[in-house]
């Protein structure tokens, strides 16, 4: 009997608490801002980059119906990125998320996204893509100094990006002034560092 009584007391207390919480819920602004998964937001950034960058008309896939956005197949956040981006329209093109195996090169990509933990592969890939019309977007601290074009990073839980205009120029990519204005920092890039 004692156990039953205690259980009932507990149940009562919890029901009361639930009511209080629901009441609090009524009082809060209807649209309190909640935190969103980092990589879903980053996927939306990639989508905007695709719209705010001009690829040269002779780029390998400029005439294609699909816009190739490439991610290495071992990227930990692949699923979030893919779920947001796959099938989105950019003008007449449809975004297709292509999964790259490690050894494969990224020449036929319009955008290549590289995560935080790339290390040596990043150096090799960026060196290979030097001068190619591929918009490289990365996250590691040394992404721009190794020749990458846009680096995403967090500042107080909000996403910011830096642009290496020098690397974009040598890849014959034209970055819109709107994107340059929103960038946290714009570097002219060290052309020598990324090459050779």
């Amino acid at each position: 009997m004692e156990a039953v009584r205690r259980a009932l007391n507990l149940a009562q207390a919890l029901i009361l608490l639930t009511v209080v919480v629901l009441a609090l819920d009524l009082l809060k602004p209807a649209c309190a801002q909640t935190a969103t998964d980092e990589y879903k937001v980053k996927a939306a950034f990639l989508f905007h980059f695709a719209q705010l960058v001009d690829w040269p008309s002779d780029a390998s896939n400029s005439g294609d119906q699909s816009f190739n956005l490439c991610i290495f197949d071992d990227e930990p956040h692949l699923q979030e990125l893919q779920s947001i981006l796959e099938g989105k329209r950019i003008g007449t093109q449809v975004v297709h998320v292509r999964l790259l195996h490690q050894a494969q090169l990224a020449q036929r990509c319009s955008i290549l996204f590289m995560g935080r933990d790339e290390g040596r592969r990043q150096v090799a890939v960026l060196r290979n893509l030097r001068g190619q019309p591929v918009l490289t977007v990365g996250e590691s601290d040394d992404f721009l100094s190794e020749g990458g074009i846009i680096r995403l990073h967090l500042e107080h839980d909000k996403i910011r990006f830096d642009i290496n205009v020098g690397a974009a120029d040598s890849s014959h990519l034209k970055i819109s002034s709107r994107l340059l204005l929103l960038a946290k920092s714009v570097t002219l890039g060290d052309q020598a560092k990324g090459g050779q």
């Binding site: 801002q33 935190a35 969103t36 980092e38 950034f45 981006l85 935080r116 929103l182």
Partner: protein, 697 residues
């Protein structure tokens, strides 16, 4: 301006107008409430939950996207994965998938940790040996607040439980961490870190029911602090049914806990942030123990006890970013603990203040230094079983530490030098240095090595305690007491540890983590027999057969810890783990230790192995299974066992989830741990089933 993703759930997508801050009138709230209630009654299941959850972020402008706060765990995980030590991190996702109902159950997944349940609400948890109900060489912190009790030198796992749903991650460091974390971080440190209130906004409700955990409810609500930050409040209550004894009788060890608390994080300026959190709890647990129930006439019985405990704590931490290369934090906490049953009664107040400064010196050096002061003042009441002399005591601890991480070759070779100087009231000044070296030839490989020293400092139960184990009829019908006494001159138990670790991630699909260690201990506790004598207290005249704690043992341990993480496919992860452990203790000359060496040697399994599997099925279903093999404990007659736990979780969109959990599926009715380092009777683990429902709103 429309705040993208400001309302969660599919229903709101069709009402974009209601999502603007200016339109959040009572009508809108009402509509949302009704929609919410409708969703409880008819939880609509989208065909592709991953794609349909939340609004289409690509339709938001870049400016809006830049204003969205994002949740990020990978950044911190990244840091710990590069830490030069035997570190294992349990993430919120691991917690959710594991189906574990309490923190000790969750810790089973850490390779090299020894987790054994004693009765329904008591566990023995340790790393690298010396396991017991109060494992005195393992330090446990919750958001920077130590929960290691200065009375019994260990952790009361039944009261330090934060609701699992609010934990962001648990970092488990095996091996000494005293230079940074403080004394008693001898064989390991467990850091339980709760989620930021900003990540637990809105309401959350969970309810579960099962045959052993017979009922559990959690309520949580998180909101904003008018431009200053965010807060959450929570409450949880649960009850566990009793387990059977070795003889198959009722173990009378059912327990319950009700606790509640809050955490508020506020940004006072761009440079200053303050975290304030507190918790209060009240619980009671049954247990069986053999204890004297009367001295005249002498009677010793195994009785059912009722452990009643409560407490509260409050912590505040002020962090200041002076520059990207220099940060300080000042932390203050207070903790009150009350516990009693018929065999013991105590209360402890702990006040702690801690300052830390993290500064980058030049391009190659990263320095953390800090100073701290702690005072714990206790009040105990004597019982027939346990008496402390003096009854009440204030203990002061002064500490300071410095750690310098030097990049000998940037990104390749790092040397880390650390040292702590502490002063405590029992043993005076202590010095605990450590040297670590980490070599990362490339991003896929890491080799580290460490030599460290760490002290286990005396507690009240080493120095001031008297335990009356038994009252028996003696010669001439005089009552006879068998008692154990603390040693007022008890020294630090001292460790010198040698560790080498290798981490390899050839691909991100397969990573392997291995550690070997060799530990040398000095001045370990022993139990020495004393000469029988006549006492006039506690009975008017009784015979006393005493034994005494001394620092009479030394010894070595060595072991191997292996762990791998293999992403077999995008939807399937396998995590095997294995640990080997060996311990040898020897008495110093003159020691006549007669219980402790053998008991301690045989109370940690020499082989442990585990295999965890986690599968994402279609339609929001996740299936997880874990198998644990634990070899026998010869000294305490525990046979080897294999434990299988599994959980099936259905995530219906982002708001609802339903889990079905089974534990101990293969072998019902087996014991996991028995004395000598437990004060309560061992009970048998039972096959159990549990169902849990969660709702976020």
């Amino acid at each position: 301006m429309i705040q993208p993703r400001s309302c969660r759930g599919g229903v709101f997508l069709r009402l974009p107008g209601y999502c603007s801050a200016t339109l959040s009138g009572p009508g809108a709230r009402c509509a949302i409430m009704l929609a919410g209630l409708a969703m409880i009654a008819f939880p609509a299941v989208p065909a592709h939950p991953q794609q349909n959850s939340g609004p289409d972020l690509t339709q938001s402008s870049l400016e809006d996207l830049m204003n969205i706060r994002v949740t990020s765990v990978s950044k911190k995980e990244q840091k710990t994965s590069q830490a030069p030590g035997a570190i294992f991190v349990i993430s919120q996702d691991d917690i959710r998938r594991s189906g574990a109902l309490n923190i000790p159950d969750l810790l089973r997944m850490v390779p090299g940790l020894d987790v054994a349940q004693i009765d329904a609400g008591k566990w023995a948890v340790s790393a690298r040996g010396f396991n017991g109900q109060y494992s005195n060489k393992l330090l446990v912190l919750v958001d920077g607040r130590t929960v290691y009790t200065p009375i019994f030198a260990g952790v009361f796992w039944d009261s330090q439980i934060v609701p699992l749903d609010t934990i962001e991650r648990i970092e488990v460091i095996r091996g000494p961490g005293a230079a940074v974390w403080g004394s008693n971080a001898v064989n390991g440190v467990i850091n339980i870190i709760t989620q930021k209130p900003g990540d637990t906004q809105g309401g959350y409700l969970s309810a579960g029911i099962g045959n052993i955990s017979t009922g559990s409810e959690t309520v949580r609500y998180g909101g904003k602090l008018r431009g200053l930050g965010a807060y959450r409040v929570y409450a949880e209550g649960f009850h566990y049914d009793s387990l059977p004894t070795l003889e198959g009788l009722d173990g009378k060890d059912d327990w319950r806990l009700v606790h509640g608390g809050f955490r508020a994080d506020s940004e006072l300026s761009a440079k200053d942030s303050v975290t304030t959190e507190g918790e209060t709890y009240q619980g009671d647990a049954g247990e069986m123990a053999t204890t004297p129930v009367s001295i005249t006439p002498p009677e010793t019985e195994t009785v059912a006890l009722h452990d009643v405990y409560s407490g509260w704590n409050l912590l505040s931490r002020w962090s200041r970013t002076i520059s990207p290369r220099s940060q300080t934090s000042l932390q203050v906490f207070f903790d009150r603990t009350n516990r009693r049953d018929t065999t013991y009664a105590l209360g402890v107040n702990t006040f702690d203040i801690d300052f830390q400064h993290h500064v980058a010196l030049g391009p190659r050096q990263d320095v953390v230094w800090g100073v701290g002061y702690r005072v714990s003042s206790d009040d105990t009441s004597p019982t027939l079983r346990i008496v402390f002399a003096p009854q009440d005591r204030n203990l002061h601890l002064f500490s300071s530490f410095v750690q310098d991480e030097i990049a000998l070759r940037p990104d390749r070779l790092k040397l880390s030098l650390g040292a702590r100087v502490e002063h405590n009231d029992y043993t005076g000044i202590g010095f605990q240095p450590s040297v670590r070296m980490v070599w990362t030839p490339d991003v896929r490989n890491m080799v580290w090595g460490a030599i460290s020293s760490a002290d286990r400092t005396p507690s009240r139960s080493d120095t001031d305690i008297r335990v009356n184990y038994a009252a028996l009829p003696g010669p001439g019908n005089m009552p006879m007491l068998v008692s154990l006494f603390g040693d007022p001159n008890f020294k630090n138990e001292r460790l010198t540890a040698f560790e080498i670790g290798y981490r390899n991630a050839w691909t991100r699909k397969l990573s392997v983590d291995s550690t070997i260690f060799y530990n040398r201990y000095r001045d370990l506790v022993s139990v020495e027999p004393g000469a029988a004598r006549i006492e006039t207290d506690p009975a008017s005249l009784n015979l006393l057969v005493p034994s005494y704690f001394r620092n009479g043992l030394h010894g070595e341990t060595h072991g191997l810890e292996l762990f791998a993480n293999w992403k077999v496919a995008t939807f399937w992860t396998l995590s095997p783990g294995y640990a080997f452990f060996s311990l040898h203790l020897h008495p110093f000359a003159g020691s006549q230790d007669f219980t402790d060496a053998a008991g301690t040697e045989g109370s940690t399994p020499d082989h442990q192995a585990q295999l965890r599997s986690s599968v994402n099925l279609a339609r929001g279903l996740q299936w997880n299974a874990s198998t644990y093999f634990v070899n026998r404990l010869p000294a305490v007659s525990i046979p080897s066992y294999t434990r299988v736990d599994t959980s099936l979780i259905w995530n219906a969109g982002e708001r609802f989830s339903l889990s079905v959990i089974g534990q101990n599926l293969t072998k019902s009715l087996h014991p996991e741990y028995a004395g000598p380092n437990a004060t309560v009777q061992t009970d048998l683990m039972r096959r159990s089933a549990y169902a849990k429902f969660t709702w976020s709103f």
